[in-house]
Point group: C2
Chain length 120, copies 2
Amino acid sequence: MTDHPDERLSRAFAALSDPVRRDIVARLTIGDATVSDLASPYDISLQAVSKHVKVLADAGLVSQRKEAQRRPVHLESQALAAMTGWIERHQQRAEQRMSRLEEVLADLPSSDTTESGADR
Amino acid sequence: MTDHPDERLSRAFAALSDPVRRDIVARLTIGDATVSDLASPYDISLQAVSKHVKVLADAGLVSQRKEAQRRPVHLESQALAAMTGWIERHQQRAEQRMSRLEEVLADLPSSDTTESGADR
DNA sequence: TCCTTATTCAACCTTGAGGTTGAATACGAC
DNA sequence: GTCGTATTCAACCTCAAGGTTGAATAAGGA
């Protein structure tokens, strides 16, 4: 499924943008669960939940092994790590920049402190 | 805009599920930028980029101040923190559980190690 | 005042996401 | 083999997402 790294990230974020899927992920932190297990709390059809699981699987966030007719779903926590990786890299960059900026501003002879398209 | 915390998270994840918007976020870690600045690298229309910025803003990931006719966009890095917060909480939970499980398995008289809907 | 620049609003098109229902499939139990 | 259980496949519906173009708005500059 075209595991272009960028697309994988896109799918991972998209996967967690749905509250039901976030809920499923939360549920899976307690332990593996079958599709029917996962479906029971919701008012939606089993097929809908099956689709949700597929979305999570395509994003690499969960895996499914087969066990008789059941397909227990397992949370792949290292995929979550990849997401925090991306976010934290950028967050850090932004914050480093801000602190550098504050340093500079502190040394300034207090004129007008408007900063915008100043760079570029 | 109904700042229900769950919806906010949903919007934040949805926002970062688009590669163009992730790109914009990356660009903003370097410094604030106007909509036209942000649009220049892309082949899509200015209006499309304006929409992307709006999506990011509705998710709380960026803010826009007004400055003459310009609307410089600023990255709100603490919103990124909220996302990592959610992910890391669940990641941690899953990993703690796994390590507890390994402990238990280590103490076991090595029978079949199939684990599934065992809980519940 | 009139023009130019920067951005947004509005209407529209196309595609994909999330839901439904009704088969099809896969496997264990009898 | 046949039945029941667990899950997926397929076709379909509806609505929102991301894109387009063409006006409208806002504010500085001549």
